[in-house]
Symmetry: none
Subunit: 192 residues, 4 copies
């Protein structure tokens, strides 16, 4: 048996790290960061507690890695909706939003939950705040170029609507009429 090559080891590390993050995200989202113990995470990930500390310095470090990871995912998503036509881009954004809402439910839940615990995780609050302002800018630009009236106010509205829909969907679960909402939003904002 020849020793594993260096790349293999790296790959194993990366895969394992991703697996831990996945398990942690699920638990954090379901029972909350504080109530999730390192033991639960390592059990669910089928590794030892000691090994987990080989990958992450602390529980807080694990959370930060998770957030950064999620952040990167989102940036990737946003880069895929760019389009020269503001109406098309708006439609892309709306579609992508509803898609990610369903697919990455845990992620949304976790970020939302953590956002409300300011003093402990100020950086998350800051991150979320930055994001919101960025989106408002973007929406205002797109709506202005779409020649929609009251573009500034409607951009604010649209931002609130996104967050509100996410909130309600995460609370009401299955019964929420996501598709109707999507169609109505597209009709309202992308048919000029």
């Amino acid at each position: 048996m020849s020793p594993r090559k260096k790349e293999d080891n790296e790959a194993i590390r990366e895969r394992r790290k991703a697996h831990i993050l996945e398990v942690a995200l699920n638990l954090f989202a379901r029972v909350g960061y504080e109530s999730t113990t390192i033991s639960k995470i390592s059990n669910e990930a089928k590794i030892s507690k000691g090994l987990l500390y080989n990958y992450f310095d602390s529980k807080e470090d694990l959370l930060k890695s998770l957030i950064l990871d999620l952040n990167k995912m989102e940036e990737g998503m946003m880069s895929s909706v760019i389009d020269d036509d503001p109406q098309v881009m708006l439609r892309n954004i709306i579609t992508a939003f509803f898609k990610t809402l369903v697919e990455d439910k845990d992620k949304w839940k976790l970020i939302s939950a953590l956002t409300f615990q300011v003093e402990k995780f100020e950086f998350i609050q800051d991150l979320a705040s930055q994001k919101m302002l960025g989106y408002h800018q973007l929406f205002e630009d797109l709506l202005t170029r779409s020649e929609i009236e009251n573009a500034k106010e409607e951009a604010q509205m649209l931002g609130a609507i996104f967050d509100g829909i996410a909130f309600q969907y995460l609370v009401i679960h299955g019964e929420y009429p996501l598709n109707q909402m999507k169609d109505y939003l597209i009709k309202k904002y992308c048919s000029n």
Copy 2:
């Protein structure tokens, strides 16, 4: 030298209980339920830990009392906005919403934060879910009677907008243009 009157004791108890709930709400909202220790609460309330347990059976009982308290407050608020004219009532609701959002910021934060920890506080999730559906019904009724087009969809929208505005205001803090949003909402939904 006569023993304290029964009424006096009742009064003392009520005042203390209310005070503890106030302190707890503030801490829970700021640093989260799990991260808020009984010691911190009793310190801030300037009472001993032991006394706190004279008033509440457990930390969880304290939280539940708080939720029920907040629930009652909200019901009181909703009873004050009733009006025969749907347009007037809608305006009342919008005004009341923005008022409570500023005045009871901590309450909103706490409820929002707890709502995202399903497995631990399922009853809160259930409560919030009930509330949302109730508001949707109410909005649909008011918008229909106001002869606004797509009343059903717009009711959903309005519900989402309220929650979204709350979310963003709680995250962005002072910089959020609450008043502009209020005026715009009234203009959009109460000028038929």
Copy 3:
């Protein structure tokens, strides 16, 4: 309203004290000394905690008073069985024993339970020890005078039988054949 006379006050005190002791005995016997709280006692006795401390210096003092009280009761009982004829006296003792076992069940339970917690209540252990040796002496004397063979050994046996019956009766409750045991004991030891 004339002030209550001194004797009345004394009488009230004594009655109240007796009542507290009664309640305490019942609770101590049922759930144990350590698990019985002062609050439970005062609640059940329908007085305030403060007042209880007016009558007893501490929880331990309450227990000691109880033990001494029980001790006095027993001494009273023993003085009533004295008889010149050893056979008659033995019969009296056996009868009295079975009577007190049923009537003062709680007392027996408490004493038995406490007897097994040496280090905390050494004085009880000492008391019980004294009692046992005293009874052995008495039994040996009575059996010798009754001209029963192996009086010394049978006296030991009889002592053990009393304690054993008490033990089993307290554990098995209602189903224990107390009366049969009594008759058999009398037949065995009082028919020479």
Copy 4:
């Protein structure tokens, strides 16, 4: 540098668990269950408080484990006294009883003490009750086959005598004439 083997860990766990149970039994028997703190146990066992909770879920769980353990021991003992000749078997039982009484004094003390706290540890009371009835059956059978008169009553008597001797020995300690009692019992019940 290889990780500890699974078997090693198992062995460590078992040894530690047994050690903790031993220490706990000793303390429970000496100062009582309630008055024995987890700190005292862990100190005496020379481990941290935390580790104790790695092995037992709670103080009550520790007690239950202990009881079950003791129960198993007793069953083992009883299986070793079986004999076809009722007289031999009776003698075996008597001998075994006096042996365990001295060797497992703590066990007897603990069980006896707990038996008297009905409401808190009902399962112990039930267990003890079961045991007693079983022994009565067994004694009756053995005495009948030994053709001893009044076998039923004498079986009851014998059961009471065992418990009574245990009670007195545990209270009087060293001065109790155990050996005389044993010899006398054997003479009385095993010489037909």
